[in-house]
């Protein structure tokens, strides 16, 4: 008991935490690898499978998710103390839905062709579990600034996987990247075919599975017990 009191001396008034203190920076970097929303937390899979056929829509989707995630985190976190626990889901969803409608209108105004390609999936950002999951798990218990960083970090972690998967699928599925032809015609003449299986949604699952395999092979502490 004595040692305990020595180990924790009377705390002086908590110094104001640096905006980019190591703890806050962790919030930003961790979701890229250790707590990646897709490969570790299992959040936001549906859209990851559906929009990753081409790179361009997946980049737009990733940006939309980053924006929605960061700002809804901030809003929820700043009103977290006045939300009654019983109706928190409704409150969270209404805020997320409002953010998504804003993003949807923005996309329609400035990048109409991409917005058409994404179709219902912009609407489905509302039900993207990354956003709800982070609201429930982080923003409801933390201050606005860390929540903002957490939102940005998780958005980027999600975007990273999206970009990798869509790169693989677009390259092997249609021989292009961002709409530019990568695999030259001469190879097609030698008898090479685009792999149309890669464009099918089941292949996206298998690609993500393999990504998880590679990631856990490099990062052994993520390995699960069974």
């Amino acid at each position: 008991m004595n040692t305990e009191t020595i180990a924790t001396p009377a705390k002086p008034k908590k110094p104001k935490e640096d905006l980019f203190s190591p703890k806050n920076r962790r919030l930003l970097y961790d979701p890229l690898n250790d707590t990646n929303p897709i490969t570790v937390q299992v959040l936001g899979i549906c859209s990851a499978l559906a929009v990753t056929v081409k790179m361009k829509p997946s980049i737009v989707m990733a940006l939309a998710v980053i924006v929605v995630c960061a700002f809804s985190n901030v809003i929820i976190s700043s009103i977290r103390n006045i939300i009654p626990n019983r109706i928190r889901i409704i409150v969270q969803l209404i805020i997320v839905a409002t953010m998504v409608i804003l993003v949807d209108q923005f996309l329609k105004a400035f990048v109409f062709d991409v917005s058409k390609q994404l179709s219902v999936f912009v609407g489905l950002i509302i039900t993207n579990c990354i956003i709800m999951g982070r609201l429930e798990a982080f923003a409801m218990a933390n201050k606005p600034w860390p929540s903002f960083l957490d939102g940005i970090g998780n958005g980027f972690g999600y975007g990273l996987i999206l970009v990798i998967v869509s790169m693989i699928r677009e390259l092997f599925g249609s021989g292009e990247l961002m709409g530019y032809r990568i695999i030259p015609d001469s190879i097609y003449k030698m008898g090479y075919f685009n792999n149309s299986l890669v464009i099918m949604p089941p292949m996206a699952l298998i690609i993500v599975g393999i990504l998880i395999w590679i990631q856990r092979n490099r990062n052994r502490k993520l390995i699960e017990s069974n």
């Binding site: 490969t39 570790v40 299992v42 959040l43 936001g44 899979i45 549906c46 859209s47 499978l49 559906a50 019983r86 109706i87 889901i89 409704i90 969803l93 209404i94 839905a97 409002t98 998504v100 409608i101 219902v120 609407g123 489905l124 509302i126 039900t127 993207n128 579990c129 956003i131 709800m132 999951g133 429930e136 798990a137 099918m200 949604p201 089941p202 292949m203 996206a204 699952l205 298998i206 993500v208 599975g209 393999i210 998880i212 395999w213 590679i214 990631q215 856990r216 092979n217 052994r220 390995i223 699960e224 017990s225 069974n226």
Partner: protein
């Protein structure tokens, strides 16, 4: 007969998981044991069974272009369909909240094992997806919409129970360590989805 067709179609041909990949997150995360998979599956069936007809009524009497005519003929030109996202999600969220309270009260063990994924049913894409498909396909009657909601729920239930049964068996097999857990589950789901693709093209 029409109802049976819609039911079978919703379960097998247009399976929420294997054909549209909706509701993946909780599907992958809660499928470790058959017991909790059954619990979550039943909750999803219940929520879909209630929310799809409710959204159908909303769509028919409030949101669709000219739907407000029953209030007064002056409203015949009003089109509120841009509100459908927010209306549907609010309906779904309140139903989920209801389910959460019921489960917490009557099945506390299930409540703890579902954890964060119970509130996440609200954002289970299959629920909103069900409501949006209902809107898109313009089912003619309330009965058809209900059957569609129920069928989609049953399809989801079947998928998660099948996966969890496989995963329980997998526990005894020797999988490369980094692939254990999530990785092999993804690949399994991919293979199951390829198998389910054989139902595509069947017209009922």
């Amino acid at each position: 007969m029409e109802h049976v067709n819609i039911f079978i179609k919703a379960i097998f041909i247009e399976n929420m998981i294997f054909a549209y990949f909706l509701g993946m997150c909780s599907y992958l995360a809660i499928s470790k044991t058959v017991k909790s998979a059954v619990g979550l599956g039943l909750a999803v069936i219940f929520v879909l069974l209630i929310s799809v007809p409710v959204c159908y009524l909303l769509e028919k009497y409030v949101l669709k272009a000219g739907a407000l005519e029953w209030v007064s003929p002056d409203f015949a030109t009003i089109d509120l369909s841009f509100l459908s996202f927010i209306m549907f999600i609010a309906t779904i969220a309140s139903i989920v909240q209801l389910v959460e309270m019921i489960v917490e009260k009557y099945a506390p063990a299930l409540y703890t094992s579902l954890g964060i994924f119970l509130p996440l049913i609200a954002v289970n894409c299959s629920i909103l997806g069900g409501a949006l498909f209902m809107q898109e396909r313009e089912y003619a009657t309330l009965g058809e919409a209900t059957v569609f909601g129920f069928g989609s729920g049953v399809g989801w239930f079947l998928a998660i129970v099948a996966l969890s049964a496989i995963r329980e068996k997998l526990r005894y097999s020797n999988i490369p360590a980094p692939l254990r857990g999530l990785g092999i589950t993804f690949i399994l789901t991919g293979l199951m989805a390829i198998a389910f693709m054989s139902f595509m093209g069947i017209t009922l």
